[in-house]
């Protein structure tokens, strides 16, 4: 078997907006089209606006890294539909356990992009209060967060926050990971636990086809979505560049979890249009033709084509101009915010290492404080 064993034609895929921007209103087996048929022009414009803002923040962050303001940036370019669609499917009380590239979901949960960029500037290893947004801290150890999501979901079960029928109470947990993470034992363990305990977890894999330099074929031998069956729950592949389809499928999975029907695996088939991070060089491992192929399938262009075909030309042009202006304003605010981020105090490294008093930490904190003070006098 060759690459097609895991690629886009290897498994059925839910698609509700064709690459040409035509809406599919029926025909899928999961009732997904019906889930989003109520979404009209304003809703779709809202999704586009969100995707465009994420793209603009991403471009700005990349520029900030090139200018030395960030140590690193992991672009989510190409994955905006998957992320905005997933965020749109969540309820306020739901929780998200991200990897480190879920900028679109973070912004969708109301996080200030400046907070996200702190980690990449090197001013903190965290940066926000997960309880406030339901968006947990970024996780750089690949796949570890899927177990945290599963444990959190087990807590949700014990709180009686599944299957009550109360839409403001029942809670789903979104575990985000990439295709590379599916080779990690912890991801399989998370699926075992979630299956065994019927935990309200949505395993949301953005399959962007590349784990730094290694393609899908180095991470899996069979289409990922099929793996769910072995863990005892459904798996669905969705077109990850189709914001409507992602919203519909993640929405169905989250509803299922909230109703107490257990986990589900959603594989969003997408493409990492940029390098893994700003430290990466894609020219060493993938060809320009492939990148061009996917640039022509940009998720923003797909939705924009649909909006252009749906609305009045002048109205559409005005909408795009508004979005661009808003995105530029956000980018400017992010730029100023990031550049104004102060370096933390040296002794802040001792803060919160422990909740309860710890003599060694206090001893070393005092030593560093004295050392720094003496250095300032020198």
């Amino acid at each position: 078997m060759g690459p097609e064993a895991v690629g886009s034609t290897a498994a059925p895929m839910v698609q509700l907006l064709t690459p040409a921007g035509e809406r599919v209103t029926s025909g899928d087996d999961g009732g997904y089209a019906e889930r989003v048929e109520h979404l009209g022009l304003d809703d779709l414009r809202d999704r586009y606006r969100r995707m465009a803002l994420v793209r603009r923040v991403d471009v700005e962050a990349t520029a900030l890294q090139r200018q030395g303001e960030l140590a690193l940036w992991a672009s989510c370019s190409g994955q905006e539909a998957a992320q905005v669609g997933a965020a749109a499917a969540l309820a306020r009380q739901d929780h998200v356990f991200p990897s480190y590239r879920e900028h679109g979901i973070a912004i969708g949960r109301g996080l200030d992009p400046v907070a996200l960029l702190q980690l990449y500037r090197g001013t903190t290893h965290g940066g926000w209060d997960p309880a406030a947004s339901g968006f947990h801290l970024y996780t750089l150890v690949i796949g570890a967060q899927t177990l945290h999501a599963t444990g959190y979901a087990m807590g949700v079960q014990r709180d009686g926050a599944v299957g009550t029928g109360d839409p403001a109470r029942d809670t789903a947990v979104l575990a985000c990971f990439g295709d590379g993470a599916t080779a990690q034992g912890e991801v399989s363990e998370a699926m075992v636990w979630a299956g065994v305990f019927n935990a309200p977890v949505v395993f949301f894999c953005q399959n962007n086809q590349w784990a730094i330099s290694e393609p899908n074929e180095r991470q899996m031998r069979a289409p990922l979505a099929r793996r769910a069956e072995g863990f005892g729950f459904p798996g669905v592949r969705v077109d990850g560049n189709d914001v409507l389809a992602v919203e519909a499928v993640v929405g169905a999975a989250a509803d299922r979890a909230r109703a107490g029907e257990g986990p589900m695996l959603v594989e969003a088939w997408t493409y990492r249009m940029a390098a893994h991070t700003t430290s990466d060089d894609t020219s060493r491992y993938r060809d320009r033709g492939e990148e061009q192929h996917w640039r022509e399938r940009d998720p923003l262009d797909r939705l924009e084509a649909h909006l252009r075909a749906t609305g009045d030309d002048d109205d559409h042009a005005a909408f795009l101009a508004d979005v661009t202006a808003e995105a530029d304003a956000v980018a400017e605010r992010v730029r100023r915010g990031v550049r104004a981020l102060p370096d933390p105090e040296p002794t802040s490294m001792f803060d919160h290492v422990y909740a309860d008093p710890h003599p060694l930490v206090e001893e070393e904190r005092a030593w560093l404080a004295d050392w720094v003070a003496a250095g300032e006098e020198r």
């Binding site: 959190y152 912890e186 363990e189 919160h352 909740a355 003599p359």
Partner: protein, 360 residues
């Protein structure tokens, strides 16, 4: 694996010089309301009390429910607290710790049992990269009150991976607390104190002492217990400070009793906590005795003894009459059971170090 109970006494039996001396146990604070119980049963009682006091406390581990754990430490708890609070987990150590992180973020206080010391490594990444760091990363926006119970140490005649002492790996990891009780009373107290802590606490339980009996106050308030991280002088002495923890505390007391018959007054300090270290108690002792020997089962190379030797040398340099000596395991994988008695520190090796220190 189930613990082979037949070998309980195999490695603990004093030999040669030890056979000529009276047998002694660590001192315990005895009051009229105490109950004589084993170290294992004291942990059971501590867990029960912690679960009664806080409904957010739950136990997770392999075989801890219906079986009561391979050492029966959780015996009867699932029957009384239900399957949601005493959870028979999949056979997945990374899963046990990783889901505990998530449960803690949701407001629970999971107490995880790792079945044996040597099986903690599938969970090593979750412990070191996630659990230990999460509190600092959250910057005060959340805590990780997770307890990891780890039966550890050798001397029970077990097969590979069932006799190891990996505590230094975790003591070397900032963000964790690492404690190890040596007596039933401490086991009862420290288990509850670990559960009450808002930090991740690893409780290394000396498995070959699970069946040691001692008097335990099961009714008094936990506030009466010494702080979780305080070392304790379990036998006073004037000539030399012998530092031990977990399974080697009893050994140290036995060695001290023999040394006394030979005219050397050995003070035994039970560290109780290996992170943080109560170096002040050890320093105060060494400042008086001028000599120090540290004993543990883990390899001496880069072990707790190395850290203590460095700290004692830095802080008690002018009081020291001899270099700080270490007695411990060798720099080899834990050996097969039939020769483990040659690996484990015993009374003679401790007394040899005492002799060498006194001769300096």
């Amino acid at each position: 694996m189930n613990a082979p109970g037949h070998a309980l006494t195999a490695a603990a039996a004093p030999r040669s010089r030890a056979e000529r001396a009276p047998h002694e146990r660590p001192a315990v604070h005895s009051t009229p309301r105490t109950t004589e119980t084993t170290l294992a049963k004291a942990i059971t009682a501590g867990l029960r009390r912690a679960m009664e006091e806080d409904e957010k406390v739950l136990l997770v581990g392999e075989d801890i429910g219906r079986l009561g754990g391979v050492f029966r430490v959780t015996d009867g708890l699932q029957k009384d607290f239900g399957e949601d609070r005493v959870v028979d987990s999949p056979l997945s150590e990374a899963g046990i710790v990783g889901t505990a992180v998530g449960l803690a973020l949701r407001g629970y206080r999971p107490v995880c049992e790792i079945q044996f010391d040597g099986f903690i490594f599938p969970a090593f990444s979750e412990i070191v990269t996630q659990l230990a760091k999460m509190g600092a990363r959250l910057g005060g926006a959340g805590r990780l009150p997770v307890v990891l119970r780890v039966p550890y140490g050798g001397g029970i005649g077990a097969v590979e991976h069932h006799s190891e002492s990996p505590e230094a790996l975790f003591a070397h990891t900032p963000g964790l607390r690492v404690v190890t009780p040596a007596t039933p009373q401490d086991a009862y107290w420290m288990t509850q104190q670990a559960v009450r802590s808002d930090d991740p606490v690893m409780v290394f339980e000396p498995k070959r002492r699970y069946w040691d009996k001692g008097a335990v106050d099961l009714v008094g308030p936990l506030d009466a217990a010494p702080p979780l991280h305080a070392a304790r002088v379990v036998r006073p002495g004037d000539d030399l400070t012998l530092v031990a923890y977990g399974p080697t505390v009893r050994l140290a007391v036995e060695a001290a009793a023999i040394a006394a018959t030979e005219g050397t007054s050995v003070e035994v300090v039970d560290l109780r906590s290996v992170s943080p270290l109560d170096t002040a108690t050890v320093e105060a002792s060494v400042a008086r005795t001028g000599r120090c020997v540290v004993v543990h089962e883990a390899p001496t190379f880069l072990g707790l003894g190395a850290e203590l030797a460095a700290r004692i040398t830095e802080r008690c340099f002018y009081a020291l009459e001899a270099p700080v000596l270490r007695v411990g395991g060798f720099a080899v994988p834990y050996p097969a059971a039939r020769i483990e008695e040659h690996y484990l520190p015993d009374v003679d090796r401790v007394l040899d170090a005492v002799d060498r220190s006194m001769a300096s």
